[in-house]
């Protein structure tokens, strides 16, 4: 059985693989330290992966069901696109590329960048 996880879930699995079997409170601490997750986040992801069949949480002890070879990570769909038609509200955060470019415009810019010659001082 092959499991496909998103990158953050994969990272979580890595933590579990290194520590399993592990009591869930200890896992929470580990996730806080290594991943920067809150307790609720840890339990949410844990539950999700248990539902998927990768992990087992019994008696507050977490153990692994799926070995490493069966699991791979893939990039997740963009949530920004889903939520805001492709761009973050500019008032909300400082960020890099706020506007979207059409493929055409992107090509144009790439050409411009490549053609640029820096004058050596």
């Amino acid at each position: 059985m092959r499991y496909k996880l998103c990158d953050s879930e994969y990272r979580f699995m890595q933590v579990v693989w290194d520590a399993a079997p592990v009591p869930s409170p200890a896992l929470v601490d580990l996730c806080r330290e290594k991943l920067g997750w809150k307790k609720s986040t840890t339990y949410t992801v844990l539950k999700k992966l248990c539902d998927k069949g990768l992990l087992k949480n019994e008696g507050a002890v977490v153990s692994v069901l799926a070995p490493r070879e069966t699991v791979s990570a893939e990039a997740a769909e963009e949530f920004v696109k889903k939520a805001f038609s492709g761009s973050l509200p500019s008032f909300l955060a400082a960020f890099m590329g706020s506007r979207t470019l059409s493929a055409q415009e992107a090509e144009e810019l790439k050409r411009l960048i490549d053609a640029h010659r820096e004058e050596r001082e």
Binding site: G36, A83, S87, M96, T100, I113, D114
Partner: protein, 1014 residues
């Protein structure tokens, strides 16, 4: 008005203020195009500040000093406010009609209930819409924030403060307090490095907070497209400056990599429609262009950019210095049968109240002064908005016995408020009323600064014959002399306004206790002192602005710290309103001289101070002598100005701002009767307490009109000279200056249809002392004949009861009755200032004749022109037994030289060209003191330009007995131009007479040396 509407209104105002600032900042950004973006970014702080703060520091460099900017902004503000007061669906015409009807009835009753509109005004509706929009924006922000927070909850820690997250198309920062950087998974190492640099640059500069603030402003001004534009540019500048930070750190080599990552983030993997915030040029494109163009900035460029930034910040961030404010006539409307003046106005932030008061004059005399309305621009009681339109109506009641003033205004919630106050005109049966005349009623739409507002409206009333002054009086002044110049108006009520920084209550108190002008804004009045160049004293430059109407120099004498006397020595009104001869900006010189002691034993100085005052560089100086408490003093010293009363002995400043204090100390002279040695410079506290005697001169301003008086006024009368007796207004001013009103109530009549042209004064009441009146009128009639060009005759009439029967006495006066110096025609006596002064001297009017009850005035010295080829003035010194010495002081190029002198009981000197050389010589009839010997002294110019003199007694060519000085008399007859000599012959007991023409060739001249110099 409701709070919501008030807030929205304030935002509208702020927007209008910020608009020019935005324009200026955009302009500045244009100049900074090639400079590092962080400067452009910083400039947005100014715009933000403008959108938040209602007021700022004043500075002369402010953008808002520019009149067009200020005018447009205020006009827009008023237009917006007026529109906002309209009620949709509520017809304005019917509202006006309804109000007008209520006006009439209410005014008679003395008060008016406020008219309440029946629906919400436009402004109120907009305010509600705004509040809804604001709420929507805030909700959107909160929702977005929570959504994203949830989405990145699963982000995984990469390094300190940085999280990697699934599903991110682009990195960003979230949070203000503990901001976290979120980046996508699977980024190349160098790309990651650049991005972290960029984002950390944001964090270092606390950008999340600025972004939040920016959003706050955007939410509040969501309805303002200009703010959206600015916000967009603000964000872009923010990003670009962080791009530049990366380039500065990593060097230009990273340009390509960096821009490529920008493009890849912006492009994403799919084509997507632009978001809701797309504005014109694509953001990534401009940032890429900026990166590719970037060069490390030269220090010079950085410096220039910084300077430009600061300059722009100061210009845009500061306000115009306070004190601006204006009122403008909007025309008159008919308000229920009465003429209402509508005007728009704007009051600056530092002025807090205004007060209207009414001066009532009865035949030229002020009989009452009462406040008519107080308004406060801040508080709720008697509140009036700082900006808007208002109306003013002056009226007389239907019974024609009394009247009042009505003020109306519309507040921004649409309520029309009126206050009516009764006028204090005396209750009489008035036959005719003219006016009210309003400022600018003739269609004058000039916007006047507040401090220029003085008289706002005038009502003219007639209580006897129904005739009133023509309403073509110049409005500017409405001084009492103007109002009653033609003698036709009987009663006038003048409404005046003043402004203050105090609250309305405090202003009311000040007015009731201290009179008009107390507590009012009098900025711009200033006196600057310096040491006098022409003697011991001070020269001062004075600048007086309205509402000051007159000024005076007071002389205070102190005896061991106790004020013994305070006398106004010089006083004047202003040339512009005909009450005086001083322009609003003038310079004066005050000189004080000690007399070294000859008479009082043991002391160095006599206890007097000889003072003189005149316009700087004018030959005419008023003189007087101050008598000090003690007969003599040992030490004395003068300082310009006075002392600061803090015990340090510090002299007061050289420049006095009279805004609050209304007086400037010009000069202090201190005396010590102990040791000599200059006590002034050792004085610790107030000079009056330390020294033994002191004289201090203060220049004091007043909002009262000066009482004009005869005498000081050769200058004033001369300035009122009038060539045509038909000019009633000019005639009236002259009558007023001559204080004819002191002699009784009068009316003026003119007979000018054919010659002789007659000016007639009809006194209305029987005089108690007809002889005194006639003798006073003789002098005045003489002056009238001299000063009115084509006037031939003056008549005056008064009723008199003779043997129980009423009659009318008429007095006739023409040139033949006039007393004047020999050889002069009456019209010549008014030809020049010198001639007029001579006439005044001749009539014995050269000293002030003040109305009774006032203190002594000062005389004006005679000036002369064209004697021995020079101009100057005559300084008269008095000696014993009523004898005077007259020194002719010529003034050339700032130098004063004594060129002649004469002496005796009276001055009987003639300037005449005896020898036909074009230069007038001076022939003086002099009388020697002890024995009364009469002689003649002739002065002429020698070949080298110096003055020489001779005694024409040489002309006597017959033998005469030398019986001592009394046996010879000579005198010069100016009319026949001969010298009369009386002498005694040997053995004769009766005097003989001979006359000789003044033959200069037969006289022996010797150089003239002024007796003062010997």
């Amino acid at each position: 008005m409701t709070t919501l509407t008030a807030i929205f209104q304030a935002l509208l105002d702020l927007s209008l203020t910020a608009l020019p600032v935005m324009g200026a900042v955009l302009l500045a950004r244009l100049c900074l195009r090639r400079a590092p973006k962080k400067y452009s970014y910083a400039l947005w702080a100014v715009v933000g500040f403008r959108l938040i703060c209602p007021a700022s520091l004043p500075s002369p460099m402010s953008l808002f000093n520019s009149a067009p900017v200020q005018t447009v902004r205020e006009t827009a503000q008023i237009a917006v406010q007026q529109w906002g007061q309209t009620v949709p669906g509520y017809s304005h015409a019917s509202a006006a009609a309804g109000n007008a009807g209520r006006n009439t009835a209410g005014a008679a009753a003395g008060s008016l209930p406020p008219v309440v509109q029946s629906g919400p005004s436009s402004m109120e509706i907009l305010a509600v819409v705004w509040a809804v929009g604001l709420a929507a924006m805030l909700v959107w922000a909160v929702v977005s924030y929570l959504h994203i927070r949830r989405s990145v909850r699963q982000g995984v820690l990469l390094e300190d403060g940085v999280f990697q997250c699934d599903g991110l198309r682009t990195p960003f920062v979230l949070g203000c307090f503990r901001p976290k950087i979120y980046v996508p998974f699977r980024m190349a190492a160098d790309e990651l490095a650049h991005i972290l640099l960029h984002e950390r640059a944001h964090l270092r500069r606390l950008d999340p907070w600025w972004k939040l603030l920016g959003f706050g402003i955007l939410a509040v001004y969501w309805w303002n497209p200009a703010v959206w534009l600015c916000h967009f540019l603000f964000c872009r500048d923010m990003e670009m400056s962080c791009d530049e930070a990366v380039l500065r750190k990593m060097g230009p080599e990273v340009k390509q990599t960096y821009s490529l990552s920008l493009v890849s983030f912006a492009a994403g993997r799919h084509f997507s429609a632009a978001g809701p915030l797309a504005f014109g040029e694509n953001d990534a494109k401009s940032r890429v262009k900026n990166i590719l163009r970037w060069k490390r900035a030269a220090p010079a460029a950085v410096f220039l950019a910084l300077a430009l930034c600061l300059l722009a910040a100061v210009i845009c961030g500061t306000d115009a210095p306070t004190g601006r404010g204006w009122a403008q006539n909007e025309g008159t409307v008919d308000a229920g049968g009465r003429v209402e003046l509508r005007f728009s106005y704007s009051v600056p932030h530092d002025i807090n109240s205004c007060l209207f008061y009414e001066d009532v004059y009865d035949h030229g005399k002020l009989i009452s002064r009462n406040p008519v309305g107080y308004f406060d621009f801040n508080k709720d009681a008697n509140h009036v908005d700082r900006r808007g339109t208002a109306g003013l109506t002056g009226y007389i009641n239907d019974d024609f016995k009394s009247g009042g003033w009505y003020f109306s205004r519309t507040n921004s919630d649409g309520a029309k408020i009126g206050t009516s106050n009764p006028s204090s005109i005396p209750q009489r049966n008035y036959l005719a009323i003219s006016g009210p005349l309003y400022a600018g009623q003739n269609g004058d739409r000039t916007r006047r600064p507040l401090n220029e507002l003085d008289a706002v409206a005038v009502l003219f009333l007639s209580d006897d014959d129904g005739s009133l002054s023509s309403s073509s009086l110049p409005f500017e002044t409405f001084s009492p002399s103007d109002l009653f110049a033609d003698g036709m108006t009987d009663v006038a009520a003048v409404l005046r306004v003043e402004f203050s920084r105090l609250s309305a209550e405090e202003l009311q108190q000040q007015f009731l206790v201290n009179g008009p002008g107390a507590g009012t804004v009098q900025d711009g009045n200033q006196v600057t002192l310096k040491n006098a160049s022409g003697g011991i004293g001070v020269d001062f430059d004075a600048e007086f602005t309205k509402p000051v109407r007159s000024w005076a120099i007071y002389e205070d004498v102190y005896d061991h710290g106790v004020l013994v006397s305070s006398t106004p020595r010089i006083s004047d009104g202003f040339l512009e309103n005909g009450t005086g001869v001083t322009p609003r900006q003038f310079s004066g010189t005050l000189l004080c001289n000690l007399r070294y002691n000859e008479s009082v034993s043991g002391k160095n100085f006599v206890g007097t101070l000889d003072c003189s005052y005149g316009k700087t560089r004018s030959p005419v100086m008023a003189k007087w002598t101050v008598h000090l408490p003690s007969e003599g003093y040992n030490g004395a010293g003068m300082i310009p100005g006075g002392f600061v009363a803090d015990g340090t002995g510090k002299h007061s400043e050289d420049t006095f701002s009279l805004a609050d204090v209304h007086e400037a100390v010009l000069l202090t002279y201190a005396f010590s009767d102990d040791d000599p040695g200059v006590t002034v410079y050792e004085a610790g506290n107030n000079v009056a307490c330390v020294n033994d005697a002191a004289v201090q001169f203060r220049l004091v301003t007043s909002v009262e009109y000066i009482e004009s008086s005869l005498g000081r006024n050769a200058l004033q009368l001369y300035s009122l000279k009038n060539p045509y007796v038909g000019d009633m207004v000019a005639d009236g001013k002259l009558l007023s200056a001559l204080n004819i009103a002191d002699l009784g109530t009068y009316k003026m009549e003119l007979f000018t249809s054919e010659q002789p042209y007659i000016l007639q004064i009809d006194f209305q009441n029987e005089p108690k002392g007809p002889d005194a009146l006639n003798s006073a009128m003789d002098d005045r009639a003489t002056l009238l004949l001299a000063l009115i060009g084509n006037l031939d005759e003056v008549r005056w009439t008064y009723p008199q009861t003779e043997d129980g029967a009423p009659t009318l006495r008429t007095n006739f006066f023409d040139e033949t009755n006039a007393l004047k110096p020999t050889g002069m025609r009456i019209k010549d006596c008014g030809a020049s200032l010198a001639d007029l002064q001579n006439l005044l001297n001749y009539l014995g009017l050269s000293d002030d004749i003040q109305p009774s009850g006032t203190t002594e005035g000062v005389g004006v010295q005679t000036i002369f022109t064209d004697i021995l080829g020079q101009n100057g003035f005559i300084r008269q010194e008095s000696g014993a037994d009523g004898f005077f010495t007259n020194y002719y002081i010529a003034q050339t190029g700032g130098q004063e030289t004594c060129i002649a002198e004469s002496w005796g009981r009276e001055r009987d000197d003639t300037a005449v060209d005896v020898d036909g050389d074009g230069i007038k010589e001076l022939v003086c009839n002099v009388t020697y003191g002890a024995d009364g010997a009469q002689r003649v002294v002739v002065y002429r110019l020698a070949a080298d330009g110096s003055v020489e003199c001779a005694d024409p007694l040489e002309l006597l060519d017959v033998p005469y007995r030398d019986g001592g000085i009394g046996s010879l008399k000579e005198s010069y007859d100016a009319i026949y131009k001969i010298v009369d000599i009386s002498y005694y012959q040997e053995g004769q007991e009766n005097p003989q007479f001979k006359s000789y023409p003044l033959d200069m060739a037969r006289l022996t001249f010797s150089p003239y040396v002024c007796s003062e110099d010997t």
